[in-house]
């Protein structure tokens, strides 16, 4: 009897009252479905897929901004083991790389590159620690005299090890299997001290290995100070 009264009340009321009940149900579902995610906004961490989608969106925006200018920029793709130099959205050079850093170091580096308001990290400085000369002194002297250009403008270096430091405490070291010598002992000493303090302050580093030919081109590209972006 009691059950029947409840069913009667629920199912056979007038249209206005039925509409009112529907509104209540919709309101409750809207509050549960809508307001809860809104409340969750205050939580610091998104789920992994959400974070990936968010990063992909930020990456697209960053690359679009970089491609709007004539300068070069670097895209680091650790999954495909490539460093891509681009200009106006067009690939101008691909560098194949091997990651030397261990997985913990790499993960810390990746996390740092992805963090911050801007995911395109501006380059602060580059230093060639050890390198071999492309031209020996005799040839360099002859060419320099013939072209009336100072030798340091003509000489090119084949890096053994170089370091590029980016904003946000990021250090990218590239090495090759070339046997080189110190380019400048004083500059190396100064940079080592800087890197020591950078590490103390929490800088994250990644070491990669590239071929000698790629290293020459990479060093030349780094001299222009291209920003670095990590691909999703």
């Amino acid at each position: 009897m009691h059950k029947r009264r409840w069913a009667h009340t629920y199912l056979s009321t007038k249209p206005v009252m039925r509409l009112a009940r529907v509104a209540v149900v919709m309101a409750l579902s809207a509050v549960v479905g809508g307001a809860c995610p809104a409340l969750a906004e205050g939580k610091p961490k998104a789920t992994a897929p959400q974070a990936a989608i968010e990063y992909e969106g930020r990456y697209k925006i960053a690359e679009t901004e970089l491609a709007a200018h004539d300068g070069t920029y670097l895209l680091l793709d650790l999954r495909k083991k490539r460093l891509r130099l681009k200009m106006r959205g067009v690939t101008v050079r691909d560098f194949r790389l091997t990651v030397i850093s261990d997985s913990t170091e790499t993960a810390s580096f990746v996390e740092r590159v992805r963090s911050g308001d801007r995911i395109a990290k501006q380059m602060a400085r580059v230093l060639l620690f050890e390198a071999g000369n492309r031209l020996n002194d005799t040839v360099l002297g002859i060419v320099s005299e013939a072209t009336k250009a100072p030798p340091d403008l003509i000489q090119r270096y084949i890096p053994e090890r170089m370091t590029a430091t980016f904003d946000g405490g990021l250090v990218l070291t590239a090495q090759t299997d070339v046997d080189g010598s110190s380019v400048s002992i004083f500059a190396n000493l100064l940079e080592n001290v800087r890197l020591f303090f950078d590490r103390l302050l929490g800088a994250k580093s990644l070491t990669i290995q590239v071929s000698a030919d790629d290293a020459v081109a990479l060093y030349g590209a780094l001299l222009a100070g291209p920003p670095l972006v990590l691909t999703p």
């Binding site: 209540v24 709007a68 130099l85 009336k148 403008l153 003509i154």
Partner: protein
């Protein structure tokens, strides 16, 4: 009647809650989609660039393009994924020259940036500019006949604006070294291949 008196205000409150709930839902969805609108705009920008104008957007290359690496002195004919030609070249030395008589000054650099092939010449002659004579300590000639050199530029020349060319050289042993006055020198065989592939309007990226 009593039930109706209770339900109608309840319905009004529910409608208000519904509106608030929907508002929250919308703003929440908005947060998840924040990257989409700019990304769509970016795609549009790329398409605009692909229509042949440099504009402000990124370019999408459907045809091979030329890349010149001034530091490594390498030239490539490539697409995004494939390299069709990789060659040693020579780019500007960066040397400077000042004419003691007139005070005119030159810096022999290959300019960086994005260019397009603007001319293609077969059997080009070099019309020596003033600096070619000043550099050698010679008097600048008054007539064009004394300036013309039929052999210096090789078989072909590909112009990319402002008097800059990709051309051949008599000094192939110096390929790979920055020795030019701003033009890009290429070996005869590589130049032949590049000339055959490059068309008017082909993009040239110099960095």
């Amino acid at each position: 009647v009593n039930k109706a008196v209770l339900l109608i205000p309840a319905a009004l409150i529910a409608v208000v809650i519904l509106i608030i709930g929907l508002h929250f839902q919308c703003s929440s969805e908005g947060n998840h989609r924040f990257a989409e609108s700019p990304a769509v705009k970016a795609e549009d920008g790329r398409k605009a660039g692909a229509n042949g104008k440099l504009g402000s957007g990124r370019l999408r290359m459907t045809r091979p393009y030329i890349v010149i690496d001034r530091y490594a002195n390498r030239l490539f004919l490539r697409t995004d994924d494939s390299v069709f030609l990789a060659a040693d070249c020579s780019t500007g030395s960066g040397a400077q020259l000042t004419d003691a008589l007139t005070g005119r000054h030159w810096t022999f650099d290959t300019p960086a940036g994005v260019f397009q092939v603007s001319s293609k010449l077969e059997g080009p002659w070099w019309r020596k500019p003033d600096w070619a004579f000043i550099e050698e300590g010679e008097k600048v000639p008054l007539t064009d006949e004394e300036r013309m050199d039929p052999s210096m530029m090789g078989e072909y020349a590909i112009g990319f604006g402002n008097g800059y060319f990709i051309h051949g050289t008599l000094y192939e042993r110096l390929l790979g070294v920055s020795v030019t006055h701003g033009c890009v020198r290429l070996g005869a065989e590589d130049l032949r291949k590049l000339y055959a592939q490059a068309q008017m309007g082909t993009y040239i990226f110099v960095y």
